[in-house]
């Protein structure tokens, strides 16, 4: 469901308050809605104070890993001997996720303000906002807002009259999912192939251009001005019985629901309620079969697990999955889980940077085995082969793309083994498999 529309009564609307309000896109419109107050207040504090506030708010990274944001910021060297950088990860490409796109489309200044505060807190001269190449509209809107922010003295050599120089630039990607991986993103900014780097060194020691760097997701940074304005205690109080996961989170819901779209709820919100109430339930005459709650890289849940899953970092782990990026993909009883597993494997095969053997070979091999099963030529031992391969693809590579592909395979076979076996037994019509693109 696109914006504008009225939020559902069960939503807690903070980041998405001005989604659909075109006036909020301009500098004047943003200031009228209370914008840039948090940046002004931050610039009057010491950088370490800002870090402390964010640390005590309990904000955790919204890109997938859930690492405490303030703690990440505190890893940056306190004594500056080299330039520092902030990278904003706007390379949103995790299948099922489309929240950062809306933040940039509707509230570009919220992101700029969040970046500027973070940039000041970690004492960085420059922020690079890395936006995926396909996001042409967010790119245009973000660039216009940046120009507006420079024109009004928010950025530049005397940011908001503070006497400090803050610069911020957009770096456009060119089509590569892997560039959402933090070190691949840094290589891509440097004009290289987007290959992830071996860690250590970690970005806080040696990031983009070999300098101390912090990288945060769009949604994480957009939450920062609210925390500065309303205080860390307020943010911490936004939680449903689990103090380890607090704040609000945007969930992008796609697939077989009545009203797909973005929904902002307090951490810990029940996944079943998100699907049944906010999204209006399943399509007419259909029933829930499965759900991937955190973007395609997290394990899939069956119906029972979906209905009892709580949407926060710990609640998802309890169900054997992860909160990830909050991309909720909903499948009804019409979905062919074997075919969709193959499609996801094909995604990972296509997006593998091909540095590590386990990933380069493993993702392609996974696709070929699944295609064979779909064509009705699978053998009983193929499931064990897939699982064995998935094991070889887990925990052995530079980044987790390979692990993500393996997680899809392992979790789908675990929950929907009967569908795979039906193809093997020939009780299921061989699917028509479109030519591979991997």
């Amino acid at each position: 469901m696109g914006y504008p529309h009225k939020p559902h009564e069960k939503e807690t609307v903070i980041l998405s308050e001005y989604f659909g309000d075109a006036e909020a896109r301009s500098y004047d419109g943003w200031v009228k809605r209370g914008g840039y107050k948090a940046l002004k207040a931050s610039l009057e504090m010491q950088p370490a104070e800002v870090v402390e506030i964010v640390k005590s708010s309990g904000l955790r990274g919204r890109g997938g890993a859930g690492f405490p944001t303030g703690v990440k910021w505190s890893f940056m060297p306190k004594e500056k001997s080299k330039p520092h950088y902030l990278c904003c990860n706007a390379d949103e490409a995790e299948p099922g996720t489309f929240k950062d796109r809306e933040i940039m489309r509707w509230t570009p200044h919220a992101l700029i303000e969040g970046c500027a505060i973070a940039q000041y807190a970690i004492q960085a001269e420059i922020t690079y906002i890395y936006i995926r190449g396909e996001f042409t509209e967010p790119l245009r809107i973000m660039q216009a807002a940046l120009d507006d922010a420079y024109g009004n003295g928010v950025l530049g050599d005397n940011a908001m009259g503070s006497g400090r120089r803050l610069d911020m630039y957009i770096h456009r990607g060119a089509g590569a999912y892997i560039c959402g991986e933090e070190t691949a993103l840094m290589n891509s900014i440097e004009g290289q192939r987007g290959n992830p780097r071996i860690r250590p060194p970690f970005p806080a020691a040696s990031g983009v251009f070999g300098m101390p760097t912090t990288i945060n997701n769009v949604e994480t940074l957009a939450a920062v001005p609210h925390i500065i304005n309303r205080g860390p205690e307020w943010y911490k109080s936004l939680s449903l019985n689990n103090e380890k996961s607090c704040g609000t989170k945007l969930f992008s819901v796609s697939g077989h629901v009545q009203r797909p779209g973005n929904y902002e709820v307090t951490m810990g919100f029940p996944l079943g309620e998100l699907i049944n109430d906010l999204c209006g339930g399943m399509r007419q005459g259909r029933t829930l079969k499965a759900c991937i709650p955190g973007g395609s890289s997290v394990p899939i849940l069956n119906r029972e697990e979906t209905e009892s899953c709580l949407l926060d970092y710990e609640g998802c782990v309890e169900m054997g999955t992860m909160l990830g990026s909050g991309g909720v993909i909903v499948f009804d009883d019409s979905a062919d889980m074997v075919y969709q597993t193959m499609r996801l494997a094909r995604f990972y095969a296509h997006e593998s940077c091909a540095q590590c053997t386990q990933c380069r070979e493993g993702t392609g091999w996974t696709v070929r085995i699944l295609e064979r099963i779909l064509a009705g030529q699978g053998e009983p031992k193929d499931l064990d082969l897939l699982l064995d391969l998935a094991d070889q693809m887990t925990g052995k590579t530079i980044c987790v793309l390979s692990d993500s592909c393996a997680a899809v395979v392992i979790s789908t076979i675990k929950r929907f083994r009967n569908e795979f076996e039906a193809y093997m037994a020939g009780t299921r019509e061989p699917g028509v498999v479109a030519a591979g693109v991997g």
């Binding site: 490409a93 299948p95 099922g96 995926r132 089509g175 796609s254 077989h256 995604f347």
Partner: protein, 164 residues
């Protein structure tokens, strides 16, 4: 005999100025490469060997290095494509909502026939793309720089007409 047309350089006049502005944002010249390649594609519609050589020259890199980067990123075209480049998202969230039927409709109505092939009139090239990041608006389709949401097979003939 093969027809040859003279290569028109990209980084002259205003474009050169634009590139210099981009380069000023980074501590290293190489960081301007992705932006430079976008400028090449904007002017020529694809990134040819000649364009790679020119870009290498301007940024102080080697043509082989540039080729390594061009081949990594899927949005840079390594051969000419139709006037309108159509990318239909067919990754899982869109796939379960009927994206493959949208692909079929585009292949039929543009006359492209096959994925990656350009229509005989040179107007269209259609490909499947992995996740456009608009999964709640299945099926999203990119037509050159425009992202069109909620495309169904029924809407395809009008879109093809509009971009012809």
């Amino acid at each position: 005999m093969e027809q040859t047309t003279e290569y028109a350089p990209v980084f002259t006049g205003d474009n050169r100025k634009r590139l210099d502005e981009v380069l000023a944002r980074y501590p290293a010249k190489r960081a301007g490469l992705l932006a430079a390649l976008w400028m090449v594609q904007e002017q020529h519609g694809w990134v040819s060997d000649e364009a790679m050589a020119e870009t290498a020259d301007v940024l102080g890199l080697t043509p082989s290095y540039i080729k390594g980067v061009v081949t990594f990123y899927t949005m840079y075209h390594q051969h000419p494509v139709g006037k309108t480049f159509v990318q239909v998202c067919t990754t899982t969230p869109c796939n379960i909502c009927g994206a493959e039927e949208v692909v079929e409709a585009f292949l039929e109505h543009t006359g492209c026939g096959d994925l990656g092939a350009t229509s005989p009139d040179g107007k269209f090239t259609v490909i499947e793309v992995e996740c456009l990041g608009a999964c709640g608006f299945a099926t999203p389709v990119m037509m050159n720089e425009d992202v069109i949401e909620n495309v169904t097979p029924e809407k395809v003939p009008d879109l093809v007409k509009q971009y012809s």
